[in-house]
Amino acid sequence: MKNISATMRHWLPLACALALAALGPWMSPYLADFVVKVMILSIFALSLELLVGMTGLVSLGHAAFYGIGAYATVLGAGRDGGSIAWLLPLAMGSAAAYALVVGALSLRTRGVYFIMVTLAFAQMAFFVFHDTPFGGGSDGIYMYVRPTLGAIDMESRWVQFYGVLGALVGTYGLLALIRRSRLGAALAGIRVNEQRMRAAGFAVYGYKLAAFVIAGALAGLAGFLVASRDGVVNPELMAWHNSGEVLLMIILGGLGHLRGAVIGAVAFTLLKEVLSTHALVGPLADQWQLTLGLAIIAFVALLPKGLIGVAARLSPAANGAAPKLDAVPAPNAKVTP
């Protein structure tokens, strides 16, 4: 029984991806578009999960890397477009480079400081693109020709759909690998007890910085995809409420699980849709900010372990498995400064 559920857990994500791939052609353009949007957000959320869920670093500035990835794509493409072969590395590389700088500085702090410092540095990136003309200023900038690679052209709806799906599977797979690897084990150790890891001989700062940079690069990937899909970028991509929302997604799904990030991205997008749809909630839809705010408070207060936590409570079978490195409760983020 235990084995079956364990196997299922292993292969379920891949099965979902295959099902999505198979269903693609039957989706209406709007639905396909919606799915692409949620998949990009899932990649973004997964990248933050590496930081918050796996390493215990609560970053409130993750949108900066998303935005930088998107801007790098558009600026790199210029007026005549460019190849995915170098635009994608450019986007991920730029995001990773900024993550290296921000990480190097902000990881000198911890706990509540870290939260504030990451937020402030994200705001700084926001101002760079908002205030200087090279990224088109506050209105943003157009990408006139979407990236291509041989016959693969992001202009096509289907390339977008399957490209993003592939990127999601790749990101998920990469993070799953990291989780079971020595890097993942070390990050898990750092999350639980950083002091002990240092005493054992781990260069903790380096590990955290590595996680920060990888997370930044993956957020840059999500940024590349969103820029390729929309064909236009603007500084709002880096606004701090985007950092807040992606943080919400991973806690909504369930912290400490990769699938939690994906579930959270889906659930949060649907929640916002539902709360602002007149047909479903009537005149309350005009006050979606209020209902969303209350929903967030209620959710975090009542279900701190997210939707996965609810599922686990409902099915005792899932609880039977011995806790392992990768089945972890919320991180011990409370550090007294």
Binding site: L105, A120, N332
Partner: protein, 290 residues
């Protein structure tokens, strides 16, 4: 830049810095003592500004009375909010605090929109502070700004006195440096928390009220103040009132002179300052080493 202009700019920097200090001091105390990261702190600043908007027609030229009334209302509001909401956050981790107070911002903004609408409103300065005095041959300096600076200086001194010279202040300082110790001393920690929180809300609201005639009131005014105050707290060191004061003034100067000398990049000045402090002293100028 001639000497006169330079001095006026310094006055501008000090005045902006002191206003920031009022907001940031509450934030840093709440961090330091309760260990709660409160994203909704900017909303209290907004609350104050909107109170000034709502109350000033009622009080007319009794501006000081209005400030007192506003502070009392804000403190009451803070007291109730601590009891109804924030007291549940102490046992939560920072991540949950961030998200719950983020939710609170949305709620506050929505309520503001429902109650007052989304228009921009000006707030009149009291009649006895209208007008300005000559400063140099061309420039005039508004009386109200001078009043605001003076009020902020008085408040800053008062706060400094309360924190450093009174029994309550002793408890606050002890709480900010060692939470467990205060528990050990047999102080009613829940009451202390409630008082500190109410005071933090009142300070932010007071800053909002003082700022309202200068800045007008508008939706989302809390958000930008919040992030600048985060920078102030990071530079000054969590839990340190003196640090918050020094950092506020620094930010005031960097922001003011940044606008003058590096117009294009002025938005980034304070973040560069923060980065520099992080390299030099990651625990903040007046923070304790961990």
């Amino acid at each position: 830049m001639d000497v006169g202009t330079f001095l006026v700019q310094c006055l501008n920097a000090v005045q902006y810095g002191l206003l920031l200090f009022l907001v940031a001091s509450g934030l840093t105390l709440i961090f330091g003592i309760m260990g709660v990261i409160n994203l909704a702190h900017g909303s209290f600043y907004m609350l104050g500004a909107y109170m000034a908007f709502a109350l000033s027609p009622l009080f007319g030229d009794q501006f000081l009375v209005m400030l007192v009334a506003g502070v009392v209302l804000a403190a009451l509001f803070g007291y109730v909010l601590e009891w109804a909401f924030f007291s549940y956050l102490y046992q939560r981790d920072h991540l949950q605090q961030v998200l719950m107070t983020y939710g609170l911002i949305l709620v506050f903004e929505a309520l503001r929109s429902m109650l007052v609408g989304n228009d921009v409103h000006g707030v009149k300065a009291p009649p006895w502070l209208e007008g300005s005095f000559a400063l140099g041959e061309l420039m005039r300096y508004p009386w109200y700004r001078l009043f605001a600076s003076a009020a902020c200086i008085v408040l800053a001194l008062g706060l400094y006195f309360v924190v450093n010279r009174t029994r309550l202040g002793m408890m606050i300082r002890a709480g900010a440096s060692n939470r467990d110790m205060v528990r050990g001393l047999g102080i009613d920690i829940r009451r202390l928390y409630r008082i500190v929180f109410a005071a933090g809300v009142a300070l932010a609201a007071l800053a909002g009220m003082i700022a309202a005639p200068m800045s007008s009131v508008y939706p989302g005014m809390g958000g930008s103040v919040l992030i600048i105050c985060f920078v102030v707290v990071v530079i000054g060191g969590v839990g340190s009132i003196t640090g918050a004061l020094v950092a506020s003034l620094l930010v005031g100067f960097v922001d003011t002179f940044g606008k003058v000398f590096f117009a294009e990049l002025s938005g980034m000045g304070i973040y560069v300052l923060m980065a520099a402090v992080l390299i030099w002293r990651p625990e903040g100028l007046m923070g304790r080493k961990t």
